[in-house]
């Protein structure tokens, strides 16, 4: 078999071994003791030619029902949005996708500037002054907010709303075991955080209060009221996990007194791709700047006084601080941050607002039409682009029938909220046309009443 990624020829090998002073390449591996050697060949599928492999993987991919063929009303944290063509052309440039973390700034100004622009855009959207250059995803960003809060306040109690994404709550619980933190999940009331429960639990041991805005059920949490409660304990941190697209229309958490705002920029230019990679963001106040996990890019000048960018505040990081670092995070999601930046640049000041409003308008149309088909929304509060409806039968059964008609139905809330058995979480984004919504509503009505 020929290997097109391996350029060393037999002649090269002979010349190189001579220079090294070794008889064979085996000699270079002679330091591996016999008793730990594999002693056989690896048992893997055979090497595959480019053509055959592409055929095989194309077929494998085709076994998946994809969102370009099916009309999706599934959201629950991952959304099917319009991705401008510019995005993929930008991130397909090898200088972006093959490069390493920009530790040599003179050679990597492009990446550094792109990160600086990303930080600025997220700062604008969230109305928070300090933003890092991205984290793995929205869920791990919540975990990092918890870690920062616990470290900063030296307190152990974490109050997290049950209306925060269920998987994000699970990540927090997993991580809490490492840090020995107590996680209290706040009850729901009409699809939002129960503020009475929050008031009751919020005490001098509380490190952080975490809510999602809009929350997992689509509802818009009353951040103003929540902040009033959080402020009663001056030390505890107010953490808001926020879909940045919603902030094109909604007042940003930074204006409601949030200490930390996190979320995922998947809504801007990143395909669903089975849940990852997406792109977490982390925004906070100036006071907490030096405690923030991950990387920052800062502006500076070169020897000639020309503007340039470098990684800054690296003394917080593990490659210097080792066990005393603020976090063990090494990589960020630079390439996806570039993708989101390109999408945010294309949309610009007006487009983000327009797209946000389109989501809201279309979601309201879906809600109203479903109500006419006897499928009323479960909650009465204000919402962004997702609604909850109660069905007369199991969601999985309804989804199976919807799938036969070319739809990917909504999220089965009963999977994670026992009290919401037979409840479906339905997302409507800007790319759903009236025609598609009408067809979906008709099928929903027929299946539910059938």
């Amino acid at each position: 078999m020929d290997f097109r990624y391996l350029p060393v020829t037999e002649t090269d090998k002979a010349e190189m071994l001579e220079k090294i002073g070794a008889k064979s390449t085996d000699e270079l591996f002679s330091d591996i003791p016999e008793k730990v050697r594999l002693g056989r060949e690896l048992q893997l599928k055979k090497p595959t030619s480019e053509y055959e492999l592409k055929q095989e993987l194309t077929k494998m991919a085709a076994k998946n029902a994809n969102l370009t063929e099916y009309t999706s009303f599934l959201g629950a944290g991952v959304y099917d949005h319009f991705i401008p063509s510019v995005v993929d052309h930008v991130i397909s440039r090898q200088e972006f996708y093959t490069s390493y973390t920009p530790y040599q700034p003179e050679m990597t100004q492009g990446e550094l500037q792109a990160m600086f622009e990303f930080q600025t855009m997220i700062s604008e959207i969230t109305a928070m002054p300090i933003v890092n250059s991205s984290l793995y995803d929205g869920g791990t960003a919540v975990v990092e907010a918890v870690n920062l809060s616990a470290g900063q306040t030296k307190k152990k109690k974490i109050l997290i709303s049950s209306a925060v994404h269920p998987e994000h709550r699970q990540l927090v619980k997993t991580a809490a075991k490492g840090k020995d933190l107590e996680v209290v999940e706040l009850d729901l009331k009409d699809g939002r955080t129960d503020l009475d429960h929050l008031e009751k639990e919020h005490d001098e041991d509380t490190a952080a209060v975490i809510v999602q805005y809009p929350n997992f059920l689509g509802q818009i949490e009353p951040l103003e009221k929540i902040n009033e409660i959080v402020e009663k304990q001056p030390k505890s941190m107010f953490v808001v996990s926020s879909n940045p697209l919603a902030l094109g229309y909604l007042t940003p958490p930074g204006e409601f007194g949030a200490d930390i705002v996190v979320g995922d920029t998947q809504v801007f230019g990143i395909p669903a791709q089975f849940g990852g990679p997406h792109c977490g963001y982390f925004a906070t106040t100036k006071k907490l700047m030096r405690k923030v996990p991950g990387r920052f890019v800062g502006e500076t000048v070169d020897e000639d006084g020309q503007r340039g960018f470098v990684l800054v505040l690296q003394t917080r990081e593990q490659h210097i601080r080792r066990e005393k670092a603020t976090s063990n995070i090494t990589s960020n999601q630079a390439l996806n941050a570039v993708a989101s930046s390109a999408a945010m640049s294309a949309l610009g000041k007006n487009g983000v607002k327009e797209m946000s409003e389109l989501n809201m308008q279309k979601a309201r149309y879906t809600k109203n039409q479903l109500a006419e088909a006897n499928l009323s929304a479960a909650f009465s509060g204000a919402y962004f682009n997702e609604i909850v409806v109660k069905l007369s039968k199991p969601v999985s059964e309804v989804n199976k029938k919807l799938f036969e008609k070319g739809f990917v139905g909504g999220f089965d809330l009963g999977r994670v909220y026992p009290e919401f058995e037979n409840h479906m979480l339905i997302a409507t984004t800007e790319i759903r046309s009236k025609e598609e919504i009408d067809a979906f509503v008709k099928e929903m009505g027929d299946i539910n009443n059938g």
Partner: protein, 487 residues
């Protein structure tokens, strides 16, 4: 004379321009403000740029021209495995059946995705010698942390929750001690000996009844194989601890030995290193971990299962440490790694390691006359030299790094590992030709010459980059982390 600043996208903005068309509003419009309430309606719009599509593309093309990728030139960044990122990977991951699928679709509608994950796991199990792989961790450091949390759960399940110490060599990657700390362990350091290997006598001293695990990369960060690995495993196991393999350096040993053969109990892999992720300018990566049979019950959930050719997720794992990353990990990176492994097979992967080691030794012998080589035995896929000789003459390792840029070479990793002064850590990878290696050797030796007779050209380097040396101290003292309109 200074060049003009390359504009920020915000500085290209002009009111009234736009780079988008959204679908039209085709449903009856309702009053949103009435429903949401006035105080929840955003008053000041985010100051995002207003640019047309050409301006946007010129901006990002301009930025990319001010960046350096693997296709731009040689990138011997030690520990990072900057090998060629095959373009077929990029085609495969963009197939709509991989890129446009939702994590909460019914599993019957995403059998291809599950099949890929399952088969990738099977391949990685064989490559590492582990009994089960999870693809969930987003990156190597998250993999480290996940495995440590598994060790913690394992020890607790055995009534040994007092085991709170993790042993880490002084040559280890900084992530190792940091992950251990985040997982709630106390870090204990074990020294290296004068051969650059873990001092086994010192290991015996630090191991005790509180030992939870030893974290090790093999070959280590000096590019040297820990020849006493079997003894080390025995010492740690005898004390009741677990062995953790940091897979950052797996590129050196594929098909020769496996972490499982060396006695490791858990392993992480950096799919963006060894298996052509790619690196993306800092991420996304992917850091699956593998574990032995006895640790399987503690793996993060869900795990992928297969029965009679039907794939599914299993969430029913009562002893699981829980979820560590949303959904199922960085699927898009895993698709690329799978494509790479299937291209090469066992035969190709072994050749990868053979060539990676050959290339590193060839460079090492080509520069050892002019640079201090602290450890002289054959290396594996990378090696570390010291710039001590040059420093005595007034040229630091940082200077050497900047001078390399003039030759379209990305500098090696510098000042790491910490146990070598003025370190330059060089990892050529297997995808580079002998001609490229010769160019690098000649350049390094030319810089050694210049250190003796033309230092100015080194101190004033880099000469060809878009900016000169940057004031990093100023940047960190008063950080400017975003653009401001009024500035």
């Amino acid at each position: 004379m200074a060049n003009e600043n390359f504009p920020l996208i915000f500085e290209r903005s002009k009111e009234g321009r736009n780079g988008y068309n959204l679908p039209a509003l085709d449903v009856p419009e309702v009053n949103l403000e009435e429903e949401v309430g006035e105080s929840y309606v955003r008053k000041v719009q985010p100051n995002l740029p207003e640019v047309d599509e050409l301006e946007l593309m010129r901006h990002y093309t301009g930025l990319s021209n001010r960046n350096f990728g693997i296709l731009s030139g040689f990138y011997p960044l030690g520990s990072c495995t900057m090998k060629y990122n095959p373009v077929i990977n990029e085609d495969v991951v963009r197939l709509p059946g991989f890129s446009h699928i939702h994590p909460y679709q019914d599993t019957s509608t995403i059998q291809g995705a599950l099949e890929m994950m399952y088969d990738l796991q099977v391949h990685l199990e064989e490559i590492t010698g582990m009994d089960e792989i999870t693809l969930q961790p987003a990156a190597g450091s998250q993999g480290e942390w996940t495995a440590l949390m598994i060790f913690k759960a394992f020890h607790e399940a055995n009534g040994e929750s007092h085991r709170n110490e993790v042993i880490v060599p002084d040559s280890a990657h900084g992530t190792n001690p940091s992950s251990a700390a985040v997982a709630g362990f106390k870090v204990v350091e074990v020294k290296s000996n004068n051969k650059g290997l873990v001092d086994v006598e010192d290991l015996k001293k630090v191991v005790n009844e509180n030992t939870a695990a030893l974290m090790l990369t093999n070959p280590n960060t000096l590019g040297l194989f820990e020849t006493q690995i079997a003894e080390m495993s025995e010492i740690v196991h005898e004390a009741g601890g677990k062995m953790y393999y940091d897979g950052a350096n797996l590129n050196a040993i594929m098909g020769y030995t496996r972490p499982g053969d060396m006695g490791f109990d858990a392993v992480h892999l950096n799919l963006h290193k060894t298996f052509t992720g790619p690196h993306g300018g800092g991420g996304p990566g992917s850091g699956p971990i593998g574990v032995t049979e006895e640790l399987k019950p503690f793996l993060p959930k869900p795990v992928v299962t297969e029965k009679d050719g039907v794939y599914d997720f299993d969430y029913d794992l009562p002893q699981s440490i829980g979820m560590v990353k949303t959904y199922y990990g960085n699927f898009g990176i895993n698709v690329r790694a799978y494509t790479y492994i299937r291209t090469l097979g066992a035969e190709g992967l072994k050749k990868v390691s053979e060539s990676a080691v050959l290339n590193a030794n060839y460079i090492m012998r080509g520069v050892e006359d002019r640079y201090e080589l602290p450890f002289t035995q054959h290396c594996k896929h990378e090696f570390v030299i010291s710039g001590n000789k040059q420093k005595k003459q007034g040229v630091t390792t940082l200077d050497i790094a900047k001078r390399l840029m003039d030759f379209d070479i990305h500098p090696p990793t510098v000042y790491f590992p910490l146990i070598v002064d003025e370190a330059l850590m060089i990892e050529p990878t297997e995808t580079e030709s002998k001609e490229t290696l010769d160019h690098f050797i000649d350049t390094m030796n030319q810089i050694a010459d210049e250190t003796e007779n033309n230092q100015d050209i080194i101190h004033s380097a880099p000469h060809k980059t878009s900016v000169k040396r940057l004031d990093e101290t100023r940047a960190s003292r008063k950080p400017v982390l975003r653009w401001n309109a009024e500035a």
